[in-house]
């Protein structure tokens, strides 16, 4: 992928009569989720329970981690329609002998705008992939920027799927994914894939069960449940408390684990939980999400951030 000089792009677009702009849109760095409760179906026991998982247990090598990042920048307006250039990247880093090495990585630079705005830019954006925003309503800069962020988010998800699939083609080892497995039927059914969600915007229980879910003690997991999902990829999930939360926050150290349904047995959930507990160290500081962010995922993010240099 050619290095993109945004300053140069702005100059070229200005020559073509567009209005150069320089701003970092809100939510340019990551996906946004709507807070909601989607009641899940328990598949382990009849009521939500806390289950101690036992002592941490080392994950046998090799173990791989997949994550993706995104960033975007407003570069110009064609009339009132914004043109956003976003960069997405995804990578897999595999651990062998305690050392993580990057085995797969992909980066893309995407121009996101209404088709008319893309047309107005002429050949200035040649060489970049483009994503057209819906043009069913008159341009509204704020709404268009929101749509651009969602488009970039989707593009990043797609890139992660691509990289994950490529990894699976070359390796049958365990792959820990940052986020949900439900984006892909293949992932959701993969017996050696595991999704870890740090975000709890969508909660699986409500009322007393939710309270029990959120008060999960350190070193325990919740009963396995089947999240309600709008996608076609059913998974099994449970919550795992990586760090004591008392005195901090209900979400401190709380992660949601997703696996293929065939891994949803009690024994497998306990085993995977013990292995994940062992992954608490080293801490992924200074990331503020260190209590839920595994170091392997953190390492992929660090790698991608180093790769995705400033394009300003």
């Amino acid at each position: 992928m050619p290095a993109t000089n945004l300053a140069h792009l702005r100059r070229v677009l200005a020559v073509r009569g567009l209005t150069p702009a320089s701003a970092i849109p809100d939510a340019s760095g990551g996906r946004t989720e709507e807070a909601c409760v989607r009641p899940a179906r328990l598949v382990e026991g009849s009521s939500l329970a806390w289950r101690p998982v036992g002592a941490p247990e080392a994950w046998p090598d090799p173990l791989a981690f997949l994550d993706g990042i995104q960033r975007s920048e407003l570069i110009a307006y064609a009339g009132a329609a914004p043109i956003v250039v976003g960069e997405i990247a995804a990578a897999v880093r595999e651990r062998d002998g305690r050392r993580l090495t990057t085995v797969l990585a992909e980066r893309r630079v995407i121009a996101i705008a209404r088709p008319s705005a893309l047309a107005a830019s002429g050949d200035a954006l040649d060489g970049l992939e483009s994503v057209a925003l819906p043009e069913d309503a008159p341009p509204h800069p704020v709404r268009d920027l929101f749509n651009a962020a969602r488009a970039l988010d989707r593009a990043r998800g797609s890139l992660e799927l691509l990289v994950g699939d490529r990894f699976r083609q070359r390796s049958a080892g365990w792959l820990v994914v940052d986020g949900s497995l439900t984006e892909s039927p293949g992932w959701a059914a993969d017996p050696r894939m595991l999704g870890i969600s740090k975000s709890h915007a969508t909660l699986p229980f409500e009322g007393v069960e939710l309270e029990r879910y959120l008060r999960l003690p350190y070193g325990h997991r919740s009963s396995v449940y089947a999240p309600q999902t709008r996608s076609l990829a059913p998974v099994h999930a449970w919550a795992l408390r990586l760090w004591p939360w008392e005195g901090k926050d209900l979400f401190h150290g709380l992660v949601r684990i997703e696996v293929a349904p065939l891994n949803g047995s009690t024994e497998t959930a306990d085993l995977l939980s013990r292995r994940l507990l062992a992954e608490r160290a080293p801490l992924s500081t200074p990331d503020p999400r260190w209590d839920r962010l595994l170091y392997g995922i953190h390492s992929v993010e660090q790698y991608l951030r180093a790769q995705v240099r400033s394009t300003a």
Partner: protein
């Protein structure tokens, strides 16, 4: 164009096309280079740690041949920068140690079994040695970093300016070694022996093959590689302790590694072929005051004996500073100009002229003055404007010199000195002053260096350059203490000697304790393993902490070298000197025990002529006065006749047997008579 100039100054002059292929500006060559010698690191610059024209930072893989002192090359966008690694850093992405404690639940054992090793960095800082092109001088580019090749080392240390061409002036000082590469490092003899700069100072703790070994190796290197077009060179070494320099003419048993290093440096591992030793006598006047007294080494070991004439010019050295006031100085001048070595006539003292050539003659002269003053009686206190007290003081001090420096200074005036005017090219003269008291050592230093200077000024020493090696410089030119004659002399030598070809190679354990101007004038500095306390002194402030650590832990045979051509100090290793070290030398050539007078004389005679039998000499000395024998021996040594024994016997003269006095018969008494008066 800048690159044209660069090409003409380096690549064209240096004949190493294989290694220099990457110095071509062609991008194709750079690609070839990348493929054949992959870079070992990459320059990084941040706002807090930016690249500058004199310093840069680069990171490497965890497994890398880079270490402190390694020479590296950065090449980017047509600019080539050479640097030497001065410091190293390693750190992980951990923000605070507390995070390690938390992650391990406070259990150090658990901390060691974390499933993932943290990301970590090997970051090195490097000081710029050279930039090509040199103008405009710019910050180091953010390019790939290579470990320097042999050709790179030549360019980085600017050795291309003096190791190539029709008249190279490079003197091998050791091998720069890093990452499996070994490159010879050369000093420029114009900057080592003059006239551009000169002098060498060596610092290092004792016993770790730093000072003596380095000097022995470097002198050998100079003797083998000093270019003929620069003239001739000799060395004069003061052996100030033990048997340090006593075996320069004896070969050492070198191992294969040493021989390999010699071969790599283009040197022959051989001892010095032309060495002469000089040592004063002990108090008995016949046994030499040196540890080099083994019979097998006697042939080139000679006594060093001075008389009044040799000493008087340096009276300032042997007299206490308090003694030599203006009045005493004036009287000493009077003695030197009017009395010593010439006829001095003073009718008031005595009828016949004085001929003062020895301390004994001088004593006679003083006695005459005192007798004369006594005759004059009370109130007569001035003789020829010199006060009697001043005369007495000078007489006491001078007369005692032969006692205080017994063995070096003789009463009888017969001197045996260094071969002034006959110094041979590539010859070494070792003066062993280890057994002398400090006063006598000062006298030896002062006189020998002054004589060297006189002869070099007159260009009649026999050689064009003389290297004077002085160990324990902190003793002779201390940073603190009185401003002695020797210190002033060493300072003068360090400041002006290079114009004469008089070069000071000095060594000491603690550079900080040496007069700053003396070591500051040394163009070249060598540092062996050093004490951390010494490294903490202000004189080492410019050395990075990592380099200090390396200096404090340097193995035997490794040195750090400063040289005017090198913009940064460089670490080199050198082979063991090809001469016997003191310990081996003493084991192989144990010093002879002090012998009684006749046997000691016999040993010296055998040193002059192996045919001389000890019994014959002892028989010859039977009944002789020791002073007569010393004089005869001294004359024999001076003349070095073909038949030493015959000459010696002739000097002693015919034996005069004691005469038996037969009592003469008395005159018989007159017979008694009746004469009453005849009873």
């Amino acid at each position: 164009m800048a690159f044209t100039r660069w090409s003409s100054t380096s690549a064209l002059r240096y004949e190493a096309p294989l290694d220099l292929v990457h110095f071509s500006r062609s991008p194709k060559h750079i690609v070839n280079m990348l493929e054949s010698h992959p870079p070992v690191g990459r320059v990084v610059a941040t706002e807090l740690k930016p690249s500058t024209p004199h310093q840069f930072f680069f990171w490497t893989a965890r497994e890398s041949p880079i270490g402190i002192g390694a020479i590296v090359r950065v090449e980017e966008q047509g600019r080539v920068v050479f640097g030497v690694v001065t410091d190293g850093f390693a750190y992980s992405d951990m923000v605070t140690p507390m995070h390690a404690v938390i992650a391990a639940d406070g259990d150090p054992v658990a901390a060691g079994i974390e499933p993932t090793a943290r990301a970590e960095i090997r970051l090195f800082s490097a000081a710029v040695l050279r930039q090509m092109p040199e103008e405009p001088l710019q910050p180091v580019p953010l390019g790939p970093v290579w470990l320097a090749s042999d050709a790179d080392v030549v360019l980085a240390l600017r050795m291309d300016s003096y190791t190539t061409g029709d008249r190279p002036t490079g003197i091998p000082v050791g091998l720069y070694a890093a990452g499996g590469l070994e490159s010879p490092v050369y000093l420029d003899c114009d900057f080592l022996l003059g006239p551009e700069a000169a002098h060498l100072n060596i610092t290092g703790v004792s016993g770790l093959a730093t000072k003596t070994s380095a000097v022995e190796f470097l002198l050998s290197s100079i003797f083998q590689t000093f270019p003929r077009h620069k003239g001739s060179v000799a060395a004069l070494c003061f052996n100030v302790k033990g048997p340090d320099l006593c075996f320069l003419d004896q070969p050492a048993a070198l191992n294969e590694e040493d021989r390999r290093l010699y071969a790599k440096l283009g040197l022959q591992p051989e001892p010095f072929s032309n060495v002469r030793y000089y040592a004063p006598f002990k108090g008995d006047g016949v046994n030499l005051n040196t540890l080099r007294t083994h019979d097998a080494l006697a042939a080139n070991t000679e006594p060093l004996v001075w008389g009044l004439h040799e000493v008087l010019d340096y009276a300032e050295v042997v007299l206490n500073r308090d003694d030599v006031d203006a009045k005493a100085d004036a009287f000493i001048d009077f003695l030197g100009e009017r009395v010593v070595g010439r006829e001095y006539q003073d009718e008031m003292l005595r009828g016949k002229p004085f001929l003062v050539q020895s301390f004994a003659d001088l004593e006679e002269f003083f006695r005459a003055i005192f007798d004369f003053m006594e005759v004059l009686g009370k109130g007569a206190e001035v003789w020829k404007t010199h006060h009697l007290a001043t005369i007495r003081k000078v007489r006491n001090r001078l007369s005692n010199i032969s006692t205080r420096s017994k063995g070096l200074v003789t009463d009888d005036g017969v001197a045996h000195d260094l071969p002034w005017g006959r110094f041979a090219d590539r010859s070494v003269h070792v003066v062993d002053v280890a057994g002398l008291d400090p006063l006598a050592q000062d006298l030896v230093f002062a006189r020998i260096v002054s004589k060297l200077r006189e002869h070099l000024e007159r260009r009649d020493l026999g050689v064009d350059h003389v290297v004077v090696f002085v160990d324990e410089l902190n003793k002779y030119a201390p940073a603190d203490g009185a401003d002695t004659y020797v210190r002033k002399m060493l300072l003068d030598l360090s400041e002006r000697g290079r114009y004469l070809g008089l070069v000071l190679f000095s060594a000491q354990q603690f550079r900080s304790q040496v007069q700053r101007r003396v070591v500051g004038n040394a163009g070249t500095g060598i540092y062996g393993r050093m004490d951390m306390d010494e490294l903490a002194t202000p004189g080492y402030a410019t050395i990075s902490p990592a380099t200090k650590i390396k200096l404090a832990t340097l193995p035997k045979g490794e040195l750090m070298v400063r040289h005017p051509h090198f913009t940064q100090p460089i670490f080199v290793k050198f082979p063991r000197p090809a001469v016997l070290n003191s310990r081996e030398g003493i084991e192989r050539f144990p010093p002879a025990t002090d012998l009684p007078f006749p046997e000691a004389v016999a040993r010296q005679m055998r040193g002059l002529d192996r045919r001389v039998g000890a019994d014959a000499v002892c028989a010859l000395l039977e009944g002789r006065r020791e002073d007569d024998v010393r004089r005869a021996l001294s004359a024999t040594r001076r003349e070095r006749p073909a038949d030493a024994y015959a000459f010696f016997a002739a000097c002693l003269g015919r034996r005069v047997n004691g005469e038996v006095v037969i009592p003469r018969r008395g005159i018989p008494a007159v017979k008694r008579t009746d004469d009453a008066y005849g009873r």
